[in-house]
Symmetry: C2
Subunit: 491 residues, 2 copies
Amino acid sequence: MASSSSLSPPKVPKELYFINREKVLNSLRQHLTETSRPLHGFVLLQGGEEQTRYCTDHLELFRQESYFAYLFGVREPGFYGAIDIATGKSILFAPRLPPDYAVWLGKIKPLSYFQEKYMVNMVYYTDEIVGVLQGHYKEPGKPLLFLLHGLNTDSNNFSKPAQFEFETELNTLHPILSECRVFKSDHELALIQFANDISSEAHVEVMKKTRVGMKEYQMESMFLHHTYMYGGCRHCSYTCICATGENSAVLHYGHAAAPNDRTFEDGDMALLDMGAEYQFYGSDITCSFPVNGKFTSDQSLIYNAVLKAHNAVINAMKPGVCWVDMHKLAEKIILESLKKGGVMVGNVDEMMAARLGAVFMPHGLGHFLGIDTHDPGGYPKGTERSKEPGLKSLRTVRELQERMVITVEPGCYFIDALLVPAMENESTSKFFNHEVIGRFKDFGGVRIESDVLVTANGSKNMTSVPREISDIEAIMAGAPWPSNKTAPSNS
Amino acid sequence: MASSSSLSPPKVPKELYFINREKVLNSLRQHLTETSRPLHGFVLLQGGEEQTRYCTDHLELFRQESYFAYLFGVREPGFYGAIDIATGKSILFAPRLPPDYAVWLGKIKPLSYFQEKYMVNMVYYTDEIVGVLQGHYKEPGKPLLFLLHGLNTDSNNFSKPAQFEFETELNTLHPILSECRVFKSDHELALIQFANDISSEAHVEVMKKTRVGMKEYQMESMFLHHTYMYGGCRHCSYTCICATGENSAVLHYGHAAAPNDRTFEDGDMALLDMGAEYQFYGSDITCSFPVNGKFTSDQSLIYNAVLKAHNAVINAMKPGVCWVDMHKLAEKIILESLKKGGVMVGNVDEMMAARLGAVFMPHGLGHFLGIDTHDPGGYPKGTERSKEPGLKSLRTVRELQERMVITVEPGCYFIDALLVPAMENESTSKFFNHEVIGRFKDFGGVRIESDVLVTANGSKNMTSVPREISDIEAIMAGAPWPSNKTAPSNS
């Protein structure tokens, strides 16, 4: 039977970006007032530009820079955008296109098209920026520009400020704008929800069609097709990780040097970390299952350890809860399960103190999700990254607050590079059941990842895929999803 | 019925890159001999590096730089490669990866892995380049490095030379390497043929599944899925152009500002320009057809005009034929057909002299195809780009030679930005039947594009899709392809 979908891509409400701008403007005005500075000048951002590949004229498919997308929603390259702090008015600056653009790339749109489409107050050409800003500035002298400059704490790269001859201020805007992005509006949540819905459906589609002897990239292809064909998702949030067998112990498998090209075999586990992006807003979902559709007892042991951690974290999440504690909760549940299953031996608190949780889960429990897969704001001023194994990989250490969207993605992996040293180490060797661990030599790993919204009293799982072993086995054997007995958590 | 394929991705012979290197080495040695220079020093190329998106840690999927891919076939980022001109030996330099690469990105491969995989004589780390090159240089003094520096005549960008403290030579390598890429080896042809086979099959698949009321991007999604699922093609040669209705008059439709997002309607023509890339080697194929599966008489008129030009060019192609003449041949046939169909009036030679061919076909007839969609070598030293409409867009003006692969892509478009001025111009107005042209106001355009190999005595069409109107209509009505009556041209 051919695939299909019960979903259709929603319209993006124009107010989305208007609301984002208002939020940033209010936040910036409040900050200026608190620091006794005047309420004038301009927020000025430079949008992304199209890139060609190396020296050729091969154009990479353009995707807007995320801060610019957040404030203006512009899908075209070469724009600038400004907000007048005194009046609150928004201005877009569009590139002036050469006449032969109409022949090669499409109708040249009038400025009014962009004004209407992106719900801004004014649109000019980029070659008019200086004059327009000076003209709209009602104070004496040159206008002050608040530019975007700050560290991305996931990449250690700095965002690139727009370059102008006016007076510029580089320190204020970035933390304010990043902080605004942490808390999602209803409109933003609707898009993240759709990205989750179509990606969840695609994960189920892949699960149904997985057969022993396929190539990993065929799972990627099925996922991409479902989310684009039925969800209009042209971009993914990140390169698909379709890892089977021992590859599933490689946390970021799937890149060009490890390109999902293994033929998988009977008995392998698959770890599929794939999420579509819809109108700039993303999803980030991982499902793990045996490629032949039936869990062995060892596979069940590891899978249920991770699932228990996943569920316990989501149940514990609410405003005020510290994310570091959630990470440790997940670690502890996994270690307890490993002990129960005979993989580990001894006192779990002592294992925790020896940071053995990080041997099995070297990555952080989760990260903010939005216009970027690793959305910014994880380490605002005053917070600090841990130096301890596992914890140092956390992309935030904050307390949860309402309207944060964060991934919950515990995992348990058998990674030689970590396991062997820990098993050989004099002080930690005793915790490992060396014989049992031998059985897991080429096991790879399990990760279970959902996108979770923090609500006023708890949390809401935005992802809707089968998680229980019985459900996964039923679906892979041909049963429908959602099944009659289990309604998806967010329907 | 679910899709499937009769094809399976072929293995890439290791000799491919070895043969490419030998060819460049021989060509360089010959050039040095002819210019009375000594036969020593090194060819040194820098491979591509992974890029993140703006300030984030979002990694773009890496694709190797094309010259580096040509000589070494390396799929991993961060490499350098050298050829010792005196001995002919090849050396790869691999990045030294940090230990935690094994946790996040995969097993750290020993150097011998790359030596075996890419069939080079030696592999070292990139931090050893200076010492290794000095050590292998048997002459007094510092070795001379031949670096890649030259203009891409399609993009007007320069290729980026590797940076080193040795003596460097920037003028010799680029033209020699580009010229080598113009002539395809049997191994290269086999990959281009596979890219063509799987893309041809995918085009037919899309044709079969096209239904009025779909979105343009759904055609893109079906194409991408077929070529990846069954052909292992993770990359496309270029962003898919899926243009319907008046969008088909936008030559490079499909980019981020015109993202294949129209819902197409009964009566629309579709112009689908889509080609998959297999193991660095590409394809570039365009099919045009009515989305409802039945050509109207106006659609037939324009389609057959373009098809006649397409076929006439392929039949005329052989070594010694000048590409500019082929472009003019296509223009002339299209104008003749338009005259016969009542769209144009008067003497066709006079229309040609007034360059009216370029009003209906503003782009060049075709371009070299290989590791780049617009493969280099189109304008070697001594050739010059025309300044005339249409001809100035040609990506080469060379005489055809055996083993060139070039696209043949005539088109006929109704582009207001070109048509209106020509119809209003005093000297050219008389050639247009203004009333008839009115019927074509929102027609868009037709392009028919195949990838053609120049053989010793003629040419071979590597693309195999239905071209005759009767075949297209039959397939869209459910008939099989290849049909019984017409064998594909290259089987």
